[in-house]
Every structure is written in C-alpha cells, then in structure tokens.
C-alpha cells in the first residue's frame, strides 16, 4: 500500500522528514517500515538515511503501541519525589517492565525524561495527557480511568 496521501503536502517543506514521521505516527499509531522506501524516494534520500533518522529518535515506533500508552518520568526532579518507587509500582500493576507492552496489548509502559512538570512531581503522561503529584494510588485511578475510556470508545 502507499502512504503518500498521508504526507504528500509535507514533501516540499524544508527538512520534511521529521514532520512526515510525526504525521504518519499521528494517523497510524506507528511508522510502518514498508513506508520507509517510498518516503526515501519522495525526499530523494537513501533508505539508509531514512531508517537512520527513524531509529535515532525515541518517539517513533516501528510497531503499534498498546491501547493505552503510559509514560513515567524518571528524571531527577521526579526521582526526588519517589519516581523510582512509582516505576516499580507501575511495572507491577501493569505486569510488564518499563519499555514494553503487556501481553494482552492493553498498555505500553515507557520511561520518559522530563515532562516539564517538575514542581508537581512525580509526573506521568497517560495517552498524551500530563498528570502531576502522582502517588501509586492516583496512578491506579488514572490508569483505570484511561482504560475505561478506551473500552467505551
């Protein structure tokens, strides 16, 4: 299949590659690897260059994520307020280690390094929404609410 329709309007932008990856990931949830050759062709780049950029940035996924994406901040300000314990709690609660998706595909748990909410630590991001002052109890409530919303959708 071709992905060209998704990003055709971006091809002539200077430095279009990141905007194109973002657009595809926004639409499809990940950047399918079979899109890379045609992007390379559209931008007159080598496949290696396109693959190199794709794999350099933490954000771009080659595979779909779980239905909920939970990012827990591991940076210093959050560590000062118990982020390491929150990470352990999250891993136990979701049943998958940081940087993976649980077996039933319901939740992807990831580390992030600073969400800019450092006065309201520890911080997490649930499906793109920033949350602050996250205790383990609040974490469970936020996760349950996100899963409930996703099931209703």
């Amino acid at each position: 299949m071709s992905y060209r329709d998704i990003y055709a309007d971006l091809v002539d932008e200077p430095g279009a590659l990141l905007p194109i990856f973002h657009r595809i990931q926004d639409r499809l949830g990940h950047v399918p690897q079979d899109a890379l050759p045609e992007i390379a062709q559209a931008l007159n780049l080598s496949r290696a260059e396109v693959h190199g950029v794709m794999s350099f940035y933490h954000d771009f996924r080659a595979e779909p994520a779980g239905r909920c994406v939970v990012k827990v901040c591991r940076a210093e300000a959050c560590q000062a307020m118990g982020a390491n314990a929150l990470v352990r709690h999250a891993e136990q609660r979701i049943g998958t280690p940081l940087g993976s998706t649980c077996a039933d595909g319901s939740v992807t748990l990831e580390a992030t390094y600073c969400l800019g909410n450092c006065a309201l630590s520890p911080a997490v991001m649930v499906n793109g929404a920033l949350k602050g002052r996250v205790t383990p109890e609040r974490f469970d409530a936020l996760l349950a609410a996100a899963q409930h919303k996703e099931q209703a959708a």
């Binding site: 200077p14 905007p19 969400l115 309201l120 793109g128 920033l130």
Partner: protein, 516 residues
C-alpha cells in the same frame, strides 16, 4: 458578572484545572449566577495549582489548590465576592512568593489569557517590536548588547554579540531558530512562556529577525510539550492574521515568517547544532564547531539560535531600554532569571528574580524547604549536567561567574531539591546512565565513557576495589570533560564529581580516608 480565572497551563491541567473549571461553570449554572470564565496562564505558584482567581474591586483574590469537591463550598462561602475560605490566600499580587519577585520576562504570565491578542496589547504587547521597527538593525542589536542579556538556555553567551555576527554575515537567506527543547529536569520556564504568553516569544523572535535581516524563523519544541506546540501554532496563526508576522510586518515592508516544529524525544537536540540537524530532517548528531551557527547554521545559512527565555526577554529590553534591564543583576550577570523550584520542595514554582540572590533565599525563603519536611541535603542546579550543591554552598550568590567559581553552573535556572534520604552515589550513577541513553554517539568520550561510567560507579557501590575504581572514575570524568564534542559528555561529569566531592560517604569513602 464576576470574572473567574482558571489556568490553562499544563501544570495546572495535570492536577485537574479543566475539571475544576467545568465544576465552576456547572455550579454557577445550578445557582443561576452569571460568570465569565477566563483560562489564563499560571501565576507560577505551582504548589497552589489549580489556583482559581476571582476578580474583585480590590483586585484578584486567590483560592488554591482547588479540587472539584471544593467548588460548591467556595460558592457557598461567597468566593465570587472574595469571601473567606480555608483555601483563600487573599489578593494574588500580595502573596509574598509573588510580591517578592521581579517579573520582567514573565510580566504578563498568569495575568492574561495567553491566546488573547487584545490582552497582550493591553499589557504592553508588541511595544518592543514597534520600537525595534523604528530603529536601524544595528541599533537594535546594540540595545540587546547594552542590556547585558546572556543566553538563558544555559551557556550564557552574550546575545547581542551573537546577533551582531548574524547581522554582519552576507547571505540571501538567514534564519532565526528558537531552541525550545527544554529537556533539563527541573526546568519548565520555557514551557510556561510558550503556553502562557506565546506572543512574547513571537515578538522576541520577530525583533531578532528585524535586527539581523533574517526573514524565516523556526521554533523547535520538544514532543513532551504537546500543549505548548498547540498553543504556539494558534498564536502564530493569530499573529500572522493580525499582521505581526508575514511578508510585511506591521506595514514596515520587512518580512518575517515563523513556523513551529516538533522534536521527537531526543535530549541531545537541545544542543544547538544537533537541533539544527534535526530541523533539517536528519539525525540529531552534534556538529563540529567552527563553523558557528551564526555563520553557518540552518541549511548552511547564518542563523540566530537562542533559547525561549532569551527571545522572550528581548521585547521588554526594546520597550523599556537597555539601561532599565541592565539595572537588575550583579557583576556580568545582568537582568533577571526565571528560577524554577522543583523536586522535593514545599512551594515549587517559578521565581523570577535579578541575579545575585542565593540558593538559600530560593530554597528556604521562597521554597519553604522540602515537601517531605526533612532537611535539604543537596540541590542540583542547572539540569542533569549541573553540579549537586551541598548546603555549605547555599550562600554563594547566583551569578554566572560565582557559580563557575564553585565548579557549578546556573544553566537554565532549574533547581532540583533533594532531602536527606537521597543516595548521592545512585544520583551519580543516574547522571552517567542518562548520558549513555541520550548520547548522540558522535564522539567517543561521551558514547563509550558514559557506559563505562555506569559500570565503574556500580563497582564502587559494590565495594569492588573501591579506591582504585574511584581513581578510575576521576580519570574517566577528566577524559569526558576535556574530550567530548559538546556539553552532554563534557558536563555529565559535573553531577558525578560534585556528588563524589561533597558526599563521599555515599560512595563508601570514610572521611578519614579523604584526609589521608
């Protein structure tokens, strides 16, 4: 009709501001009271978020932190008339945390609706740009130079000198690039400007364009800041529509077009040359310098690259004059810096003050000590590459040079407070681990050194040949400090060495051994 303010800053949203706003609207409807709800920026008193303000004849009265359950009680207590309540803090402007600040760059933040051009204009907006348009480009650059403004992203390079270099460069196309890749833990001032007063950034960048002859600008925002990205996009569209951006800025015949681009989760893209590579659609790999970006920057063209706060400080300098700005501060650190109080702190938030105050003023005076109530053990100043400062150095004035004097750096003004439960050997290990995760891989000291650093610290913690491994760690840090291509590898040793120096007992070193 009473006007009620509920912030739309993402810190406020992260603790339920949207839900509180909805509850206020619903309760007002239930009671049949008409209110006007304004979604303002945050005042930066973040421990009080969501901070709801009510406009009264005496001024805005603050209530916070407000939870959804508090809303009916607030109405019952007559908060629409500034009534007494357990969550009331009196007039916002008189809360000591705010009243003691010197807000220049953040003058409007929290007061206005970030996406109201009328609000912006009513609070001195675009006066700096109008002043700049009345001057010759070299005179604008001179104002910025005379103000003493230095790069607020951390490196503290004189902004005017950078601009002068770009102004003097000959090229068909020059660029203005805003580094909004605010990746340092403990910092959020860039985010607050972008979300809470986006027009001031647009104005500052436009002045930079006018001053240097650049007609295109980019704001590179990190992907962890989706809300800032959204707000900037809307603000740019509004400013363009109103003629503040575009092919004919305010009828001056000068062009300046601005776009916002999203990063993709790479800390290294906060390094200016890696950021330029990323904007060009490439991997965020650091470039060799020279050539400097001012001469060969974006797409090989002369480029002004500055941090959000640097640009956002320019409009007030042009409006009020270089002397006005320069009168704040001490030594060669002129003006103000928005400090960010973060981590384990009771009153976390944003404090804009002139240079020259101390960490003690900020952490104990403004911050009220730790959130946990335990003693403060260390403060990491200036982000993950900044030194851990022990209590014995809390009285050093916050001045760029004075901090260099204690082997630390002010950086972007972020302060992360730790209480006495922190294990500083673990924090040193984390500094190396973070460097290993985020290294772009171009230079060996950073790419390999950071991984070896984690291993050596692990051996020190496990008490394997401790004395020899501490020697090895120092030698490794020396190599990284001297041999890395950019500040990531070149400064990651600062937190490590400062932890080792000030908290040797956490590494299992007896104080008696140190004396020997």
């Amino acid at each position: 009709m009473t006007r009620i303010y509920v912030p739309r800053d993402s810190a406020a949203l992260s603790v339920g501001a949207d839900e509180v706003a909805a509850a206020i609207v619903a309760e007002a409807a239930r009671l049949g009271v008409t209110i006007e709800l304004v979604r303002n920026g945050s005042r930066g008193l973040l421990w009080l978020e969501p901070l709801v303000e009510v406009a009264t004849p005496q001024g805005r009265v603050a209530y916070g932190p407000v939870a959804v359950e508090d809303v009916p009680g607030l109405f019952a207590a007559g908060f629409l008339n500034g009534g007494a309540h357990a969550l009331a803090h009196g007039l916002t402007e008189q809360i000591p945390y705010l009243a003691r600040q010197e807000r220049l760059t953040f003058a409007r933040v929290g007061i206005t609706d970030p996406l109201s051009l009328d609000d912006y204009l009513a609070h001195d907006g675009f006066r700096g740009l109008r002043a700049a348009l009345a001057l010759a480009p070299a005179a604008v650059v001179q104002q910025v130079t005379d103000s003493g403004l230095r790069g607020r992203g951390g490196a503290a390079f004189p902004t005017g000198i950078k601009w002068k270099t770009v102004l003097g460069a000959q090229a068909a196309q020059k660029y203005v690039v805003c580094n909004a890749d605010e990746g340092d833990s403990g910092t959020f001032s860039d985010r607050m400007i972008m979300e809470d007063d986006p027009f001031v950034l647009i104005e500052g960048m436009t002045i930079a364009g006018i001053a240097t002859g650049a007609t295109r600008g980019y704001i590179y925002v990190r992907s962890e800041y989706p809300h800032a990205f959204e707000v900037l996009g809307q603000a740019i569209a509004m400013a363009t529509q109103a003629g503040y951006l575009g092919d004919d800025v305010l009828g001056s015949g000068r062009a300046f077009r601005l776009d916002v681009r999203l990063g993709a989760g790479a800390y290294i893209c906060g390094e200016e040359t890696a950021l330029l590579e990323s904007l060009e659609g490439k991997r965020g790999i650091v470039r060799y310098k020279p050539p400097i970006p001012a001469l060969k920057g974006l797409f090989g063209q002369p480029t002004v690259v500055n941090n959000v706060i640097s640009f956002a400080s320019v409009p007030i300098i042009l409006d009020r004059g270089a002397e006005f700005y320069k009168n704040y501060g001490m030594g060669r650190s002129r003006g103000t810096l928005p400090f960010q109080l973060a981590g384990n702190i009771r009153h976390g938030g944003l404090v804009e003050k002139a240079f020259g105050l101390t960490l003690r003023d900020l952490v104990e005076g403004f911050g009220g000590g730790t959130a946990s109530g335990r003693p403060v053990r260390a403060v990491q100043v200036g982000g993950p590459l900044g030194a851990y400062v022990p209590a014995s150095q809390f009285d050093t004035p916050l001045d760029y040079e004075a901090y260099v004097g204690i082997s630390a750096m002010i950086g972007h003004g972020g302060l992360v407070v730790f209480d006495d439960t922190v294990d500083m050997a673990e924090m040193a290990r984390y500094a190396m681990e973070f460097c290993a995760i985020e290294s772009c891989g171009k230079c060996t000291p950073c790419r390999i050194g950071s991984t070896r650093g984690v291993e050596v610290i692990d051996r020190i913690i496990a008490n394997q040949d401790r004395a020899a491994n501490i020697e090895l760690l120092r030698s490794l840090c020396d190599t990284m400090l001297g041999g890395s291509l950019c500040a990531l590898g070149g400064m990651a040793p600062y937190p490590v060495l400062s932890a080792l120096k000030h908290f040797p007992q956490d590494f299992g070193i007896e104080t008696s051994q140190l004396a020997a």
